[in-house]
């Protein structure tokens, strides 16, 4: 047998061998698996939309666009429309996003910009992430038994002294928009804080060093360098948090008052789509179930619009602050 150095090097005893057929098989199997996982998510979403669409179709045909512009939900007369719920969903989530976003980003800055010792940082982070593990019902109960009594004197005072201001136009009767939005803000806080903190951590250290090197103060570094650089990550956190707020059900069903009215006042009771679904579904008749499916589709559409808009803003900030195309 002639000595063949090429064969020798490809023998299985050495480390540097070309991939065997088993390797190829493994590789293609894994690729297939990955494609399958990715595809199944798309199929699942499509299936949910189609299934909802089929179930909601009779209601869509019957109520049309009036479903979105009307303000009555009356099971007995078969009049279904969800404008107050859409308003309540978006309004409560926006307030929650405003409060939760402000504090969430603040916490992220606090945890990543060496304000505290690393060990304390970890403790804080764990506590904030624990907030995400508290069940929705517990938040609802906490809202009823702790938050509303705390909020009442503040709300009464605001209403008495600044009742002319539309935001404080009504008395807080107990459940209402303000307690619901505050609880929502706490619920989305961990999402916003965790994702924003990750975004800050991903910024290369030399960016900060360069900024300090140019003589910037700590606040200038944070506000003018770090925050814009991390903005796309922060936005992702805000969008996720907003999505969670839109779909939150149980805590809101307990706190928002479930009243089909459109009011700008923070202390008025309102209703949300998810809460409507949760409270009317169990005993709904056939016609009402179709209408509820339609309402679910509307909620899905709102979430979709929010996500797409979030993505667009995110890409804009990426181009502007990170120089990526």
């Amino acid at each position: 047998m002639v000595y063949d150095p090429f064969k020798e090097s490809s023998s299985s005893r050495t480390l540097s061998a070309p991939p065997s057929s088993a390797d190829y098989l493994k590789d293609s199997l894994f690729r297939f698996f990955a494609y399958f996982c990715a595809l199944s998510i798309i199929i699942l979403v499509a299936y949910i939309v189609i299934e909802l669409g089929i179930q909601a179709y009779p209601a869509m045909e019957k109520h049309g666009l009036g479903f979105i512009t009307g303000t009555t939900w009356d099971t007995n007369q078969g009049i279904f429309s969800v404008l107050p719920e859409i308003w309540g969903t978006v309004y409560s989530s926006l307030i929650a996003l405003f409060i939760g976003g402000f504090f969430g980003i603040g916490i992220a800055i606090f945890l990543t910009q060496s304000f505290v010792h690393a060990k304390l940082e970890l403790t804080f982070r764990t506590i904030i992430e624990l907030l995400a593990a508290i069940p929705s019902v517990v938040y609802g109960l906490w809202g009823i038994y702790v938050l509303i009594p705390l909020l009442r004197p503040v709300a009464d005072w605001l209403h008495e002294t600044m009742g002319w201001f539309p935001l404080f136009g009504t008395e807080l009767s107990g459940p209402g928009l303000a307690p619901a939005a505050l609880v929502l803000a706490i619920m989305i806080l961990p999402t916003v804080a965790a994702i924003s903190a990750d975004a800050f951590r991903r910024i290369p250290y030399r960016v900060k060093e360069a900024a300090y090197g140019m003589g910037a103060t700590k606040w200038e570094v944070i506000l003018k360098v770090m925050l814009p650089t991390a903005s796309s990550g922060i936005l992702a956190g805000l969008v996720l948090g907003f999505g969670r707020a839109l779909g939150e059900t149980m805590a809101l069903a307990m706190l928002i008052g479930n009243v089909n009215e459109i009011s700008i006042s923070l202390f008025a009771p309102a209703n949300t789509l998810a809460s409507l679904l949760a409270s009317t579904f169990p005993e709904a008749g056939q016609l009402e179930i179709q209408a509820l499916m339609y309402a679910a589709l509307v909620l899905l559409a709102i979430t979709f619009i929010v996500n797409v808009a979030g993505l667009a803003v995110q890409q804009y900030t990426m181009r502007k602050f990170e120089g990526k195309k």
């Binding site: 009504t170 307990m254 008025a268 409270s279 169990p282 005993e283």
Partner: protein, 352 residues
């Protein structure tokens, strides 16, 4: 010898095994599945558990899903029986192919619970509480409320009305009563499982009995309706209501029984069958000591069944109207009056 011993041993083991299998087979022989109303669920679950324990070979399960869902299951024949606080409509009965028998099984009251500091006893006249729930009387020191409660210092506080956000038999009973005593309520709101409450700005909605109770507890100046059993359990203050005869009556098993005793039952049969119609409503009881808002809750049973299931069902119903009734009072329900028990017995005989 040794071999023989071993054989006997294994033979014994095998026969024991077979015996065990046979006995589990007997235990699992008959299963009655039911679903429906959540209001009678606590007492039904107690009855069915006790009954299954007493009767080997019969097992009764009940899922509390709500009256509407129970009726739906009953029509789709996915259960052996169902329960509903609102009985069944004629149109629903017509959809049941195996024939329907409606049996009142136990009864309850709906109470008005309130949150007023220092007010231990609150009397609400007939013309006042419907107006509170229509959003027309908005202050606790309204002269109409004050006139009925001499000596009670009522605060100058806004009334917050708490109602159910989910569809419920409790709402159905309460709004039907309000419709019976107030013409305006009847035309503007009407009796329904999920009534269209007026948008008066004083009304908030909370899910289930516990949600309403918690909201009343946490809201000074709140009033809302809950089931008597629930109010008793959570020790909520309840208002005395004025009945048809003008008396102020507190909720309780005696005043409830007095309300049910005068309940008129239709003389006719259920549509399309020879089963007596036991859908009697006490929307406005006439007795002087009757609490005004009381109601039966019904068991829905198929008329035509397999023989063994029919027998078990008849047996179960007999248990419920005899031994079962004894535990009503302690659990916050009203025992069935004697004349109703007799009617239920007669109707149950038709399960075949």
């Amino acid at each position: 010898m040794k071999l023989l011993a071993k054989n006997t041993k294994s033979a014994l083991l095998i026969s024991a095994l077979i015996g065990a299998m046979a006995s589990t087979a007997v235990h699992a022989e008959l299963k009655l599945n039911g679903s429906g109303a959540s209001f009678p669920a606590p007492i039904y679950n107690k009855w069915f558990k006790d009954y299954s324990k007493m009767n080997d070979g019969v097992r009764v399960d009940y899922q509390s899903k709500g009256s509407g869902a129970g009726i739906q299951d009953f029509i789709n024949e996915t259960v052996d029986f169902a329960a509903s606080d609102a009985a069944m409509k004629d149109s629903e009965i017509e959809q049941v192919k195996k024939g329907t028998i409606l049996l009142p099984m136990t009864a309850g009251e709906v109470v008005l619970s309130y949150n007023l500091d220092g007010v231990k006893e609150l009397k609400l006249p007939r013309d006042v509480y419907p107006e509170i729930f229509m959003g027309k009387i908005t202050k606790w020191n309204d002269p109409k409320i004050a006139a009925a409660n001499p000596g009670v210092s009522l605060p100058d506080e806004k009334i917050t009305v708490v109602v159910r956000s989910d569809s419920s038999g409790t709402s159905y009973v309460f709004t039907n009563h309000l419709s019976a005593i107030n013409e305006e309520f009847k035309t503007s709101v009407g009796g329904a499982k999920s009534p269209n409450w007026p948008s008066a700005g004083t009304i908030v909605k909370a899910p289930k009995n516990d949600g309403v109770t918690a909201t009343i507890k946490q809201t000074p100046g709140a009033i809302g309706y809950i089931e008597y059993g629930f109010a008793k359990l959570t020790k909520m203050p309840t208002a005395l209501l004025q009945n048809q005869k003008g008396e102020f009556v507190a909720a309780g098993s005696e005043s409830g029984a007095a309300a049910l005793a005068t309940t008129p039952f239709p003389e006719t049969n259920l549509p399309g069958s020879d089963v007596p119609d036991l859908r009697g409503w006490a929307t406005d009881p006439s007795g002087a000591d009757a609490y005004p808002i009381a109601t039966f809750t019904w068991l829905l049973v198929y008329k035509d069944q397999e023989d063994d299931k029919a027998k078990a069902m008849r047996d179960l119903i007999e248990y419920m109207v005899t031994t079962g009734q004894e535990s009503s009072e302690s659990m916050g329900y009203i025992p069935l009056p004697e004349n109703v028990v007799e009617k239920v017995r007669n109707a149950a005989k038709m399960i075949k």
